[in-house]
Symmetry: C2
Subunit: 165 residues, 2 copies
DNA sequence: TATATCCTGGATAAATATTATCCGCGATAG
DNA sequence: CTATCGCGGATAATATTTATCCAGGATATA
């Protein structure tokens, strides 16, 4: 079980979108070029991010993407969910209902009305991850990165994206 | 991102192995038949469980599997790890090192000596899930199931596995 | 108006992972 | 000696992930 690379791509891209001025956007072309990844592939992930209301787009020449919400309102979990989809990590096949000693036509309440305990545990476990990732916002990430990477590189990045202004 | 069905199969099977008497084993054939799943496929997962020291096997006629540890020493996480492998869910491609403004030959410390923050967050998130699943043992599961499913079904199950004794 | 740019969505393909089966080997109980 | 059972390798079917290409529509700019 692995997260799609789209999660990594998206988070890095969104980080660059935090600091763009209000009326500006950044195009897929630039985002892809800056990070040395495929343009056409990256665009697929931005379609998902848009669908989930994380980014919004301006079509046409000089168009591009910008955040659709404030950075503090976008969490890591939002991004994971947008890219990976809404299904939970663990899909329960209800194998308990196949137990050979049970009558398929007349299953006991314990395995129809009540949820599968194994399933519940796995959902809870996913919930722990969700809880943690919901607590990490894009704003937090941006501030942390600013400290660790240094303002020099941050400004150089901003300047690169602004180079054709 | 989805867990392999092997995680579900394994947990259900291990649950049946909790209650077998000390010197007995249960074969793949029975485990598969009881749950109505493929025998040859299930055996692949038991190979992994054995490799990780969760079960042990007795070869030859009347052979089969039994737990290699006490049920309280086997956690959900142990099973997930055995089936899914030791790699973390999030693999970092270090896209930050590809940033076009950086000199590949002379990368700054901030992106070589220090871990990628996005990577760290995702590892922490996985850690939350791990922590929760490490706290849920097979013994706990067995006790909970006993309450919810009822002793009737538990004993019927035991009787079915013991039917050829 | 013409043109270059950029998002959008569909079609498609390559690569990889998951799910699943089969078979022959060696071990062992009876 | 034989039927049974775990073990491991080879193989195949299916699904998912990764990746590309292109035509269409929107828009800024000249």
């Amino acid at each position: 079980m692995q997260f799609s690379v789209g999660v990594e791509y998206s988070l890095h891209c969104l980080l660059y979108l935090v600091d763009v001025s209000d009326n500006r956007t950044i195009g897929i072309k630039d985002l892809a070029a800056y990070q040395g990844v495929s343009e056409s592939y990256l665009s697929k992930f931005f379609a998902k991010l848009k669908k989930e209301g994380i980014v919004e787009s301006i079509p046409g020449a000089k168009g591009g993407y910008r955040l659709a919400k404030l950075p503090e309102e976008i969490s890591f979990w939002d991004v994971v969910r947008a890219i990976e989809g809404p299904e939970s990590f663990f899909k329960c096949c209800e194998v308990r209902q196949n137990a050979i000693i049970l009558d398929t036509e007349n299953l006991p309440d314990s395995c129809t009305k009540y949820p599968c305990l194994i399933h519940s545990v796995m959902l809870e476990a996913e919930g722990k991850m969700k809880e943690y990732l919901t607590g990490k916002s894009l704003k937090w990430l941006s501030e942390e990165v600013e400290v660790k990477v240094g303002q020099d590189q941050m400004e150089a990045t901003k300047a690169w994206f602004d180079r054709n202004l």
